[in-house]
């Protein structure tokens, strides 16, 4: 895996964030905008320092330790995104059962082995039901029922 220039990335990120904030906050009232402007000055200044350091004395890092790590993290994040996307639509309970089971299988050594599937399904049923009961009935938290079924 190639080495990345951490300081350069941080500097660029700071300038991008600063730029977006700058563009979207030009219409604020004096009281609401004052502090934003002060902080923006700090961000651009410090971001420039990071860029400078990136050119002069960069800190090189290796982002992922292995290709396997990269693959695993990306799959994990995608699972979370899909879960969150469907949760308000299909409802908390069904999506959670599926997500929990899938995530548990994903972490197993042999995800598609019969044992892993059964184990994951059982754990999903127990854990999700338990937390649903506690939060929904015990704490009165209105968990999404699902827009599709309404």
């Amino acid at each position: 895996m190639s080495m990345l220039n951490a300081d350069l990335i941080i500097g660029i990120f700071a300038w991008v964030v600063g730029g977006v904030v700058f563009v979207t906050t030009r219409e604020l009232s004096p009281l609401g905008g004052m502090f934003v402007n002060y902080v923006l000055v700090a961000i651009f200044f410090l971001g420039a320092l990071m860029l400078l350091k990136g050119f002069i004395k960069p800190e090189k890092i290796q982002f992922f330790e292995s290709a396997g790590e990269r693959r695993n993290i990306i799959i994990g994040v995608v699972m979370l995104v899909v879960y969150l996307y469907f949760m308000p639509k299909a409802g908390f309970l069904p999506t959670s059962y599926i997500f929990y089971m899938a995530f548990n299988m994903f972490l197993a050594e042999a995800p598609w082995a019969r044992k892993s599937i059964l184990q994951s399904a059982a754990l999903s049923a127990v854990v999700v039901t338990f937390f649903y009961m506690v939060f929904h009935y015990g704490l009165g938290v209105p968990l999404p029922a699902g827009a599709w079924w309404e």
Partner: protein, 316 residues
């Protein structure tokens, strides 16, 4: 097997949703009462007081849900997107529901979308100074402000809040200029005032009542003198037609049928007219009111007419 199961599931679903509509009687299932503020705040306490009585009057469960944020706007944006079937209602506050859409470009809802059910509590806003302040009366205060424009600092909670709009209106009526210093909320503004960091305070009646030993209230924005502190004159009696208060009520999503509103209105008004509840409110420094849906609508319309020009003028 699979097919049987799905048919069964479908049947269950249909039954669950169909039964209430078939029965045609409202209410037939639990009602969600949303509080758009944090648990433990005054709106929550009021709702908690009403909850058991509402359950008794309506004969169904009433559950309180919280959706705090944005000074209430997140909850109200949620309210106007709900189904208008009477099973989701929310606490509403004036001036919040009027000033937020007026002052912010996009508050997530419009004032007209919320159908008011009833208003049950008023919190008059008053102007106060510390006991040791040289301003003995409202006249002293106005005279000094006329000679020294901008020199008096007045605290209050936030911009485009009841306090801020009262300040704007009062400045205009008295022809003075004050330096309004907003705080994050009522509690910090009171602390800052008691510590002498501002010279005067726009405060809620319950806060002013609580600290009555340390402060002098120069006027209340009420029609009649504020009952728990009858010695304080109103602004009106001193020549300024300033009526300022924060009113708590309940509202329903746009398009809720009038029959349903009527049922809810009756329940809320019965509670609001309960002598025990009234006594409790007065004891805490609030004024109990019982404003029905039609009058609430008219009240909101009147306030919009009053405030829209003030907001416009300040914004430009």
């Amino acid at each position: 097997m699979k097919r049987m199961l799905s048919i069964f599931l479908a049947l269950v679903c249909v039954m669950m949703f169909a039964v209430p509509t078939l029965a045609g009687k409202y209410p037939a299932k639990k009602i969600v009462y949303q509080i758009p503020f944090n648990p433990g705040g005054q709106s929550d306490l009021e709702a908690r007081r009403q909850q058991p009585l509402l359950e008794k009057l309506l004969g169904v469960k009433v559950v309180i849900e919280y959706k705090p944020g944005g000074g209430g706007s997140v909850g109200w944006a949620n309210l106007v997107r709900k189904k208008p079937d009477g099973y989701f209602i929310s606490g509403i506050n004036i001036p919040h529901i009027i000033l937020q859409p007026l002052a912010r470009g996009n508050a997530g809802y419009k004032t007209e979308q919320i159908v008011p059910i009833a208003f049950f509590q008023a919190t008059p806003i008053g102007l106060a100074v510390l006991k040791k302040s040289p301003f003995k009366t409202l006249k002293d205060f106005v005279d000094y402000a006329k000679k020294n424009p901008g020199a008096i600092t007045v605290g209050g909670s936030g911009t485009w809040s009841g306090h801020h709009i009262a300040n704007l209106q009062f400045q205009k009526m008295a022809g003075i200029k004050l330096t309004y210093i907003p705080s994050k909320g009522a509690a910090p503004s009171v602390a800052s005032f008691l510590g002498g960091h501002v010279q005067a305070l726009w405060g809620n009646s319950n806060d002013l009542y609580q600290h009555r030993e340390r402060i002098r209230v120069l006027g209340f924005g009420t029609e009649k003198p504020f009952a728990p502190m009858p010695e304080v004159p109103t602004f009106k009696s001193q020549g300024y037609a300033l009526l300022a208060s924060i009113d708590r009520g309940a509202g329903a999503p746009p398009g809720t049928p009038p029959e349903i509103i009527q049922v809810l209105e009756k329940a809320f008004l019965t509670i609001a007219n309960d002598p025990a509840i009234k006594a409790k409110m007065l004891q805490d420094g609030f004024i109990p009111i019982a404003m029905d849906s039609a009058r609430s609508k008219a009240y909101i319309a009147e306030k919009i007419k009053q405030w829209a020009p003030v907001v416009k003028e300040f914004k430009k």
